[in-house]
Amino acid sequence: MQALKEYFKTRHKNVSRTALSISTMLLLAACSSSSDSNSSSSNDSDSRIEIPITIPFSAQASGLSVDCAATFTGLGVANASGSILDFRFYVHNVTLISDSGGRYEVTLDDNNYQGGGVGLVDFQDMDDTCSGAVASTNKQITGSVTADEDVVFNDLEFTIGVPANLNHEDPSAATGHLNILGMHWNWQGGYKHIRMDVAVVGGAVPSWNFHLGSTGCTPDPTDPLNTGAAVSCDRTNLPIVSLANFDPASDTVLVDYGELVSTSDVSANAGGAPGCMSGQTDPECAAIFSKLGMDVTLDDSTENYQSGTQTVFSVM
C-alpha cells in the first residue's frame, strides 16, 4: 500500500494509461472489499478517486538551503550575514486548482505536523533555537483530494497561519504541531503564524525576528461569562499565497527568506520589537508585510489590506 501511495504521489503527469487503469482497479477493488456490495454510486462518482497529494517545500536565502548550520550573506539592505534560530510557519486551506478552474481543497493527513486542517512547515533542524539536539523537520504538506482520475492541476493556493477558529483554542490542551511552546503567542492570545528568527553577525540585537500573528484580538464583548470564547481580531494577518503553474507531481514551493527581508535592515533595530512582531506601529513591519502582499496599516475590514502581491513564495 505504501508503494501505491508513493506511486500516486508522482503520477499526475507522464504516466501511462495502463498504469492508471491498474491503479484505478486496485482502488476500486479496495473500496468494494471494505464496504457492502450494494453499490449505489452514481456515474459521476465512478471516475472520481481519492488522489494522494504531497506538496514539497524548500526554503532558501542567498542561494543556500535553510537549516541551522547555514550562514547566509547579503541579507537585506545592509548586506548582512546571519543564520537561523527558528524557521517555521503554519499553512491551511491548501487548495489545488485544475486546468478547468476546479478548486480542490486538500484534506490534510493527520500526523505530528498536521491536523485540524492545519500543517506546520518546519526547517529548524536543531532544538532550542538551533543550539540543542538534532530535531525533526517537516518540509512537506501531505493529504488527498477527491477528483476525476485524469484531473490536471495547474495552480496551488494556500493560506499562511493558524485559522481563526483554531487560533484561540487553549494551546496547553492542544496536541502535536499546535502544542509547540515556541509557536504560541500567548500575550496576543493565539499562535505565531510564521516564526523566522535570524542571528545577524554584528547585528544591533541578538536576533532579528519575524513573528506573524493575529493582532488586536478581543473576546466577544457581549459574552457575559467573560470566557474568552468567540475572539475576533482587527488583523488576522493570514496572507493567501497563490502560485500559478504548480504541478504537485514535480514542483516544490520555494520560500525565499532573502526576498522577505530584501528591503529591511536586519542589522539594526529601527524601534519596537527587534525585527517585526506584527505591531502596526513597528517601523520594521511595513516592509516585511508588503513582501507577503499585506498592508500592515490596514485591518481586515479594509478590502485592500491583502491586495498586494506576495513575493516570498514561488514555484521551484
Binding site: 532544538d127 540543542g132 494551546p171 496547553s172 500567548n186 500575550w187 464583548p221 467573560n226 470566557t227 475572539v231
Partner: protein, 388 residues
C-alpha cells in the same frame, strides 16, 4: 456619567447594607451561586465567574497552591509564580520591576493577585487576556520577557520534576479524577489558574465597616473615603465599585466593561509617547489613542503593594496622591523628558486637585483601611513547601 457612577455606588452601598443581618434565601438563580468551591467570601459579595471548562474545586485549588509555590516549575528550577507574588506582600514582590528566572528585568511591576478573579482583563494592559488559564501561559512559557522560562527544550524535564515529587501524584489524582495520566501541562495550567482565582479578599477594615462594624473605620478614614468618592478628586471613576477598579466582572453582571486609562505619567517629547518597552494598550491595538493606557488595578491592599504604577516608578502612596493632584507627571530631564500633565492621550478625569495636608493624611488613612491582613497570612493561601 458622573451621576451614573454615583447612583451605582449608592446602590452598591444600599445592597451591602441591606445584606447585613439578613438570612440567606436559596433561589434558582441561573448559576449565580452555583459552585463546588468554598469561596469563603461574605454573602453580600458576588461570586467570581468560573469557566465552564475549568470549574473550581478544592482539590484543584490545593494542587494549584503547591504548583504556584514550586520553583521546579521553571526552566532552570529557580523561580515559582510565588517568587514574584509573595503572600506577605499581597502577592507582589516589592520591586519596581520584576526579574525573571534567567535574570531578565521585566518592563513592568508585579501586580497583586488579590481578587484577580474579578478582573475583566488580566495583566496591566491586554484586552486579549480575559481568563486566568490563558494568562498563566504568559509567565510560564513567555519568551520575551523570560519569566519562568519553560520552553520546548526543557518542558519534558520540568514535567518530570513534577512527576518525581511524591506529593504530587495524589494531588493530581484528586484534582483530575477522570484522567488516566493526570500530570500534564494542561492540568498544571488549570490548577494554577484555580488557585489564583481563589485568592479572594474581603476582610479589610473597610469591609467590616460595611458589614456593620461602625468602629472599623476611624473618623479620618471616613473623611478620606468621602474625599475619594468626591467630585474634586475623582478617584472613584477608575477605582470604583466593591473591588476598587472599573475593570471588574462577576456573575451578577450583564454588561462587561474593559476600560484602560492614560494617567499622564509620560509625555515624551510632547507627543504623548510612553517609553517604548512599556507603552500600554497600544502594544496590542496599534491605535495611537491607546498610548499609555493601562487597566486600573484594585486598591485593595494598596498599602502593602509598593512601589506603584505599571513601571513601579512611585515609591509611596503620598507620591501617588501628589502625582494625581498635579494632574500628571512632569519629567524635566533625561530620555523621558516631557510634561505628562499635557499629554494628548490623558484620561479626562486626571485633571488635578488641591489637597490640604490633612486631606492627604485622611486619604492615606482610608487607603490603609483597605488592607486585609488575614489575606497576607492565611495558611489557605500559603506556601506549602516552606515547612519542608
Amino acid at each position: 456619567m458622573i451621576d451614573v457612577q454615583k447612583v451605582f455606588m449608592s446602590l452598591l452601598i444600599i445592597i451591602m447594607l441591606a445584606a447585613c443581618g439578613e438570612s440567606q434565601t436559596t433561589v434558582d438563580d441561573g448559576g449565580v451561586n452555583a459552585t463546588a468551591f468554598d469561596w469563603q467570601i461574605p454573602s453580600n459579595m458576588p461570586l467570581p465567574i468560573e469557566p465552564s471548562d475549568n470549574p473550581m474545586s478544592q482539590a484543584k485549588f490545593e494542587l494549584g497552591r503547591h504548583l504556584f509555590f514550586d520553583r521546579r516549575l521553571s526552566g532552570n528550577g529557580t523561580q515559582s509564580c510565588g517568587s514574584c507574588h509573595e503572600q506577605a506582600l499581597s502577592f507582589t514582590d516589592g520591586l519596581a520591576k520584576s526579574v525573571g528566572s534567567t535574570g531578565q528585568v521585566l518592563a513592568r511591576n508585579s501586580q497583586s493577585l488579590l481578587n484577580v478573579a474579578y478582573n475583566a482583563t488580566l495583566t496591566w494592559a491586554n484586552f486579549s487576556l480575559v481568563t486566568l488559564e490563558r494568562q498563566a501561559l504568559v509567565p510560564l512559557f513567555g519568551e520575551d520577557p523570560v519569566e519562568q522560562g519553560i520552553t520546548d527544550a526543557n518542558r519534558d524535564d520540568v514535567l518530570q520534576r513534577i512527576i518525581d515529587e511524591p506529593r504530587y501524584l495524589s494531588l493530581f489524582e484528586d484534582a483530575f479524577p477522570k484522567d488516566l495520566n493526570p500530570i500534564d501541562v494542561a492540568n498544571v495550567v488549570d490548577s494554577i489558574a484555580s488557585f489564583v482565582r481563589g485568592l479572594v479578599s474581603f476582610d479589610s477594615s473597610f469591609d467590616r465597616f460595611f458589614q456593620g462594624d461602625t468602629s472599623a473605620l476611624s473618623t479620618s478614614a471616613r473623611r478620606g473615603r468621602t474625599l475619594f468618592n468626591g467630585e474634586d478628586l475623582e478617584c472613584f471613576h477608575c477605582h470604583g465599585g466593591y473591588n476598587f477598579s472599573d475593570s471588574t466582572v462577576d456573575r451578577n453582571m450583564t454588561f462587561i466593561s474593559r476600560p484602560f486609562h492614560n494617567t499622564g505619567l509620560f509625555n515624551i517629547g510632547g507627543t504623548g509617547a510612553y517609553p517604548e518597552d512599556n507603552s500600554g494598550l497600544i502594544e496590542l491595538t496599534g491605535k495611537p489613542s491607546d498610548m499609555g493606557k493601562f487597566r486600573a488595578p484594585t486598591l485593595r491592599n494598596i498599602a502593602i503593594t509598593a512601589p506603584y504604577m505599571h513601571d513601579g516608578s512611585m515609591s509611596s502612596l503620598g507620591e501617588v496622591i501628589d502625582f494625581y493632584a498635579a494632574g500628571g507627571r512632569n519629567i524635566e530631564s533625561g530620555p523621558n523628558t516631557g510634561d505628562g500633565r499635557f499629554s494628548p492621550f490623558k484620561d479626562g478625569f486626571i485633571s488635578g486637585f488641591d489637597l490640604t495636608e490633612q486631606d492627604k493624611t485622611d486619604l492615606i488613612v482610608f487607603l490603609n483601611s483597605l488592607t486585609d491582613n488575614t489575606f497576607l497570612t492565611n495558611p489557605r493561601f500559603g506556601n506549602p513547601w516552606e515547612a519542608l
